[in-house]
Assembly symmetry: C2
Homo-oligomer: 427 residues x 2
């Protein structure tokens, strides 16, 4: 029984799982194509991941960086939205199972993205925050400010320290951007908002296992971001491997202990894998092996794009980086394949990468050169603003950024807790 | 032990409980006064209650209608903020108890406001939504849209109906404004967003026990709001008393049954009373009896203002209405009493009341006349925009309103669920 209740038409059906950069872009491209497109996501919105850290740091509202799927596809007769938790795939019967029912497909595109990788360590999973959804970003924001409030009535020095200190594990873009934003909050906001607190007592740790920050970028970017963060007062610990996190203590391989109630885990991601695939096509990092046409090996009508896809080749033995640009370019590639039936190989055009550390401080590795500081920062702003979906989102983000820049004061420091009685009748 | 850790100074200390219209206004007025002011609220923000319904109906973001307390008092040396749950008052030792510790006072002002009154009916309390906080507003928004999504995969007619129908109990301003906003959503948004759904099947009930809507306003306003709502397709049931709500069914005294999973309870409020007051000063509606100087009877250094205060007089045997203006004017009165030591009686200057039903549709009873329709609507917009705290909030609300007006499409239809792991370490 097909109980996702999608009308059967004469068109071939493409089911897309996930409305992130890959799935959303592909569905958009397939508007008015000769396919029926069914886009399934657990959320009723597309999320702009690169700005999650600003939501976590009270610089932006979630609504400014997400876009409702139904609004995005309002005028499209051939795109059907279903908000459901995906439970599995049966590639023999060509069926997807969700918590709201099943649906059959002619073509299936996996675009489920990636989630935080705790490497099987339950202590770390239970005692840290991830940052792979706006909900998690809000949770970080709420807890940072709740803990500051609690600190106001905590006399014991050690107890107060563990409330106000924050440790970030992982020196990739997420870790670097979070640490920078936190350091600016410490510098510009805390002395004004929490006059009774000694802002100098707030310690921000950025813990990186390897010998440099931003290992995916150039040596120059690594060095500049390190300098920027040190200057902002972040305690950057390189060559430091975390072995356990428990009871507000971060233990490192070298035997050190860092005390912090709040630990943000940005030290790795893994694919959001779905039940129903042979072991042979699943990698150790829970991604799906695809060939150069993005076909999952052995399944000619099933594809994977974006963070969940592992596309190995001689030139790229490690696959492509798990970034938005790869997902978007893969979506464009699949769109052409579906509509023009070509047989080319997917090629990734690296447009460069960037990370922002703070006011006027960013690093960028671009095809035409490496840069840092103010120019890189302005470029970062423009690129992100341009990539946001929806004119109103762009406008609100722009106003917020201008406001924050001019006043040195992002004003979204709100602890809005979820209401307990979230669903009467259905508890 | 005073463990709210507020520094003792030479100044007399005024403790204000609650940062709503009354408490917030009073604290603002007391900036730079010769008092130490301690403002305690369970939230770290002031909430603008008159626009909760727009948050619930996806027209505004919570952050646009709340304002962080610490930001509001950033430059005030004599105002101390504490975010805590108030647990009780001891008027013999002049102490307030909170979940984070105690604090003593020289003067105490109760400004805790009001909460939803379920009149002791547990079925109603457990099976309906209140609308007395932004968290509750978000909860209503999330559940309306979740249920629409669920309706897309629900084939059974009755089951689908209970997902999409909404019943609102209570025909005061909150009920009227909610019903109007819902009806506009049904008309302008649903046919675009949920093409597969028959918007005509969505029933909106507004259930009022008495024989007219907006009983606090003029007959003309009652009649006009009724006409507006009927025109928008709302099923207004007057003279209908709800006797029970259970299993998605609303039972009325006349023996009728209305089937709706979502019932919003806007049929009454009661004071947010605090432990520690003699029975003699507490009314049946959990408000505190105050004299004409807003003094709680028998306690010369304890005051109550706003919704929690019951100020009975010969001219006002029912006390003053529980509205923002009374709270604000009481705050101004107390400010003068504290700073100038006068001995006048509180007098309420009624500036009028208004309610909005939809686009170009509002009713207003003003000292200089009663009006309805477009003029009342524009006036409503201006009054509410002017009353919002913070320039950025005004700007964002204005942009949102203009946007929604021009596009017929509020774009905040997001189901952002709270993240489960809200507080590692401290579960």
């Amino acid at each position: 029984m097909e109980n996702l209740l999608v009308e059967n038409t004469d068109l071939e059906r493409i089911v897309i799982l996930g409305a992130g950069f890959g799935g959303f872009t592909l569905a958009k491209k397939l508007i008015k194509s000769d396919y029926q497109v069914v886009l399934i996501d657990r959320n009723n919105f597309h999320q702009f991941q690169p700005l999650f850290y600003q939501v976590a740091m009270a610089g932006l509202e979630p609504s400014s960086i997400v876009f409702p799927l139904r609004k995005a596809f309002q005028k499209c007769e051939n795109v059907i939205i279903r908000v459901a938790e995906i439970e599995g795939v049966n590639t023999e019967t060509n069926t997807v199972m969700t918590d709201k029912g099943t649906i059959s497909y002619d073509h299936l595109v996996l675009a489920t993205g990636a989630t935080t990788n705790f490497f099987g360590n339950e202590d770390i999973e239970n005692n840290t925050y991830g940052l792979k959804s706006v909900s998690e970003a809000l949770s970080i924001r709420n807890n940072i400010f709740s803990d500051f409030e609690d600190a106001m009535t905590t006399q014991n020095y050690d107890a107060r320290q563990s409330l106000i200190d924050v440790a970030i594990v992982g020196g990739g873009p997420t870790g670097v951007e979070l640490a920078g934003a936190l350091a600016e909050m410490k510098r510009y906001i805390l002395p004004k908002d929490y006059k009774e607190l000694d802002a100098g007592e707030v310690d921000i740790y950025l813990i990186q296992a390897s010998d440099r920050l931003l290992p995916g970028m150039s040596e120059k970017a690594s060095k500049r971001s390190f300098d920027f963060l040190e200057k902002l007062g972040v305690k950057v610990l390189l060559n430091t491997r975390v072995t356990g996190i428990k009871n507000g203590r971060v233990e490192t391989q070298a035997g050190e202990t860092i005390i912090a109630d709040k630990v943000i885990w940005a030290a790795g991601i893994k694919g959001e894998i779905i039940d129903g695939f042979a072991e042979a096509v699943v990698t150790k990092r829970s991604t799906l092996k695809v060939d150069a046409q993005l076909n999952i090996k052995g399944l000619k009508n099933v594809y994977a794009i974006g963070d969940i896809a592992f596309c190995e080749s001689e030139e790229n033995p490690q696959g492509f980086p798990q970034v938005a640009q790869v997902a978007i370019q893969m979506a464009h590639f699949l769109h052409k394949k579906f509509t023009k039936g070509h047989d080319k190989k997917f090629e990734y055009k690296d447009l460069g990468s960037m990370a922002t550390i703070g006011r006027n401080k960013a690093v960028a590795d671009l095809p035409f050169g490496k840069m840092s500081g103010f120019v890189a920062w302005v470029l970062w702003l423009f690129v992100h603003l341009a990539s946001l979906i929806g004119f109103k989102n762009k406008l609100f983000v722009l106003i917020n950024w201008m406001w924050n820049y001019l006043t040195y004061d992002q004003s979204l420091r709100l602890i809005i807790k979820p209401h307990n009685k979230s669903k009467p009748n259905k508890a």
